[in-house]
């Protein structure tokens, strides 16, 4: 550690919501930013992965085909068949698989050097996904039950009669139709946002303590911060996978709820 580095005291970089406002890539005046590039790039990569994994369809799978089949089977069985039910899960498998892999690739972009930014920590992109999900589960419900039957299914829990319905029906409508896409979007967005913020905080905090604070006693604390940064990085890998899983799981559950027959 050289003395002149330690001597200089600089202001710390304070991470905050503004850390996520990235400048346009191609200079001022253009509108394309990093998350926009990432979502397209990783959608293409997810497609390429699934395409090349399923292209040969050999009886004895190679490595790539094995990974692809394991991922596909995971989504199909644990998310599709177990939740939507073996009767009509088949037609939702493509939707669920593409949703899951799009989310997984984009979330794990936060762990790839040079990208290191979770695409869905920009709320606008998540709202788009939640809108698709909202249209799908309401669409299949209305298609199966008709508009009246679907609203009855979502808003009137079976077995409830009498004046209490005046209270239950608006609440259920609010919870099942209005709030659902919002919580779905916020869950993914805030997990990515908070996780990335935590990583910035530990990385830049450690950097300030070691190189910029000018106090020798802060250096061990800064090293501890970087050790914690590494640990949280691996925790984030797990959370990024889990959020892709949970988003797709909730999609499947909403579809299952919309398709359910009256009890």
């Amino acid at each position: 550690m050289s003395v002149n580095v330690l001597a200089a005291t600089e202001d710390p970089y304070i991470p905050g919501p503004s850390s996520f406002d990235l400048p346009p890539i191609f200079g001022e005046g253009t509108i394309v930013t990093k998350p926009m590039v990432q979502i397209v790039l990783f959608a293409v990569l997810a497609f390429a992965f699934l395409y090349f994994a399923s292209r040969k369809r050999a009886l004895v799978p190679g490595k790539l085909q094995y990974v692809g089949e394991a991922g596909y089977g995971f989504v199909r069985n644990s998310l599709g068949r177990d939740i939507i039910g073996s009767h009509d899960f088949q037609k939702f498998v493509p939707y669920l698989v593409s949703m899951f892999f799009l989310l997984l690739f984009n979330n794990w972009a936060a762990a790839i050097p040079f990208f290191q930014f979770p695409t869905f920590s920009r709320a606008g992109l998540v709202y788009g996904l939640a809108l698709i999900s909202w249209l799908v589960y309401n669409g299949v419900g209305i298609k199966k039950h008709g508009l009246g039957g679907y609203l009855k299914l979502q808003c009137m829990p079976s077995g409830v009669t009498g004046p209490i319905l005046l209270l239950i029906v608006p609440l259920e409508f609010f919870s099942n139709i209005v709030v659902r896409p919002v919580t779905l979007a916020l869950r993914l967005f805030c997990n990515m946002f908070a996780g990335h913020l935590l990583l910035i905080l530990f990385a830049m905090g450690g950097y300030w303590l070691i190189f910029q604070s000018g106090v020798l006693g802060y250096v061990p604390v800064g090293i501890l911060a970087w050790v914690l940064f590494t640990a949280i990085f691996f925790l984030e890998l797990l959370i990024q996978f889990l959020q892709a899983y949970v988003f797709t799981l909730l999609n499947a559950m909403y579809i299952a709820g919309a398709l359910a027959d009256e009890h």
Binding site: D82, I83, T183, L186, F189, C190, Y245, L249, L250, M253
Partner: protein
């Protein structure tokens, strides 16, 4: 010393979901210990419960920044 009172509020608000998630996984571990063959079914339910309880903490952190 300056800072934002929102963050203290968020720390307090995170206690609830913390306890909730602990209870969910305690019940999940109990269930699997008693009946290991039910793990795959319990896992989905546990993760769903986890996601719903976590939503409170997540809404909290969003509001802590926004308000």
């Amino acid at each position: 010393m300056d800072g934002n009172l929102n963050m203290i509020g968020y720390g307090l608000a995170a206690i609830g979901p913390g306890i909730g998630i602990g209870l969910i996984f305690a019940a999940y571990i109990n269930g699997v210990a008693r009946q290991p063959e039910a793990q795959s079914r319990l896992q989905t339910i546990a993760i769903l419960g986890f996601a719903l309880a976590e939503a409170l903490a997540i809404i909290g952190i969003a509001l802590a920044f926004v308000l």
